[in-house]
Amino acid sequence: MSSYLLPAVGVVSQRVNNSTWHQITTWFTTASTWAWHGENGEAGVAQLFWEHVWISGLSLLIATAIGIPLAVALTRWRRGGLVVTSVANAARSIPIVGVMLLLAVGPVGVGTESAIIPLVVFAIPPLLTNAYTGIRDVDPEMTDAATGMGMSRLQVTRRVELPLAIPLIATGVRLAAVQVWATATIAAIIGSGGLGQLIVVGYATQAYGEVYGGIIVVAVTAVALDMSLLRAQRGVRRRYGSLAPIEGS
């Protein structure tokens, strides 16, 4: 318990001493840090950032391609709501790090695939829940009117239901994107590359300049992504109207 009582400021100044500050400032001011190829032939921030964008973007794209059609299909089925809540609850209680480590030592092996599979799987629930709610809450009078005008089932979905569900679909995409970006950091533990590699490699080699530099880069990009997507989402809501409060996960 005594560790709880130590004044945090004193501890910080004691543990993070001058040499650590020096390492951090050196890391930030060295040009090769930010280059494509960093020092000693290791990947620089530019390359790691690109890998991070690639892994996250691909995972989000696959998850969207699965999640949205699945949401449409589930709204057609009486038991759909139960499936959606079950999937969301299950995903919330499964430790994604554990799944990545499991795939890495098991069937898939160390590398990017072991990262992308869980990233896709865990990005589906927020997309699915929001798209499902969005489509389900479309006023039945709207779809009736569209059917009355002679639209086919597919046309009703594509031209009435999905456009009306856009504000909530956008919420789902934002939540999934932020989650994927943050979780892709952890994937560096299993050697998938990306910005998390700065933290993992630095931590393993006790290079604290790299560790704290990596932490700052990872945190800043994640918060920036969250804020810009929130802004974009507000724009979408102004354009398409709103169905639900903007927060909510």
Partner: protein, 229 residues
Amino acid sequence: MRPPGGFTFHKQGNPWLSWHYITSNSHAILSATSEHVTLTIEAVALGLALSIPLAALARQRQWLRSTIMNFCTALYAVPSLAFIVALVKVFNLSRLTVVIPLAAYSLVILVRNILTGLDEVSGETVDAARGMGLSNPRIFFRVRLPIATPAIVAGLRLAVVSTIELVVIGGYVGGGGYGAKVFEGFNTKSHTELATYIVLTVLLALIADSLLLLTQRLITPWRRGMATS
């Protein structure tokens, strides 16, 4: 940790799940479970202790409300690996290294739910309490907070389940609980250890969620049958 008695994985193979592993490691499983539960309770308790005053403060002014919510949301966006590793050099391998980030992540869920709960309290109720001569702090603790309790417990459920999952990442920096075992299983390539503790994490989350759901029903009998989320 290798099971006692000279038993090795190679003799038994390396199955994903084995009942024998569970029975011969029951002691390790129990101690990891109690560590995991302790870390979760500490993190959520710290988060709750911080979020009640934060929510009370957020209700004072609109700008405070948006500042606090934005701050918590930004904190939540910081990847857990970065947050936990950042504290390793500060707290060494003390449990605070894991407890502080997890408490920070529970903030956004708890503050949002407490605010929702407090917003539900009608002005008439507060006027009635004031008419009975209650002071503002007393109104907050005796009227507003009890009325907000169902929403707070709903938030606690989400916070507890996500914290149980996040404790696992703490294993990367030597934090205790199932995380230590999951990373040990990864480092020794033991399928059995890895899979067993992942399943245990899921079970623990489900049990905690059910217990909190039960609590939620017990303290709000009038809400039975209504949707809770």
